[in-house]
Symmetry: C2
DNA sequence: TATATTTAAGATAAAACACTCTTAAATATT
DNA sequence: AATATTTAAGAGTGTTTTATCTTAAATATA
């Protein structure tokens, strides 16, 4: 592993996780794909798994799911791989996260305090709602292309 | 279960969880204690577990941990229970969450994107940092007393 | 057609998380 | 002193998450 991938490398312990490992791996792979334009449009999963230090089979399964949900397309056999079905500048983070974590991702209270709803808001509800909404807005307005490009550019700038 | 406790009742499915069940249960119990002043200063764990619909043994273990960390004190035997060692108006949410989830709770990237740090910020780092800091600030400025009182008052207001 | 390559799919395993149960220790009451 | 009550502590169980392994299906190339 090296180059750009160091940027997306594994983080062993993590508190305050909002997305699961599955979601994290999926997002990292998509960011990788968005940042590395491919000639054929397809990326080899094994190479990606090595670059990103993610289990090959696990990553395969995650990307499989994104294929089934219509975000990616796959191609078997030699020189096969996985690529965007929808161009990455048309895929928002919100779409990705919902595909990976479930459609109700943005619907719940960030903290997990029960009874937190519009009808009977918990003490922190207003705060949480504001926080979640800014999160959701950010996710809905940021595309994979934005993220991948920004990441790559920043990395290159640091390197120079 | 009824009355105030309905407010702290269990929520079965939850996405976007930031704190674990253990943290949630602990926080709910502390909010309960902060809102219900006790004559003796001690609360019976079994009663609390029933009111909050949390497993008695599990809750006992969680509160045990808070006792060991110096937030609570316990008293065995008849009419025994668990109570605040530090008064709840001097316990911030930040202290509680750190005690329950670990001291490094606020140190990591909310999303879990790796490589997200001051030195080599990931594309979302600025956004995440802002989000996390407002979260942390809110947690550091809100005491258990604030939360419990607010909750109770709001509940009573709705009831009237 | 035979072989190698690559993703798909399903079964299995390991680890983390969320409880559950049993026994021990402390305290109060009789 | 005996008994009941309540938390402390540790072992054990079930579930979910995470990861791995094996086999199948598709595709390209020789």
């Amino acid at each position: 592993m090296g180059g750009f991938a160091m940027y997306l490398c594994r983080q062993k312990t993590l508190k305050m996780r909002v997305i699961s490992r599955l979601g994290e791996y999926g997002l990292r792979a998509l960011m990788y794909m968005a940042a590395h334009k491919s000639d054929t449009g397809y990326f080899n999963i094994r190479v990606m798994s090595q670059e990103l230090d993610i289990s090959f089979h696990f990553l395969t399964k995650i990307l499989q799911g994104l294929t089934q949900r219509g975000l990616l397309q796959s191609y078997r056999g030699p020189n096969g791989g996985i690529g965007f079905l929808v161009p990455p500048d048309q895929i928002t983070l919100a779409t990705v996260v919902k595909a990976l974590e479930g459609d109700d991702f943005f619907q719940n209270c960030l903290l997990g305090l029960p009874g937190c709803g519009e009808r009977q808001p918990c003490p922190m509800h207003v705060f949480w709602t504001a926080l979640r909404e800014s999160l959701q807005t950010e996710f809905e307005t940021t595309t994979l292309d934005d993220l991948g490009t920004q990441t790559l550019e920043r990395h290159l700038r640091l390197k120079a």
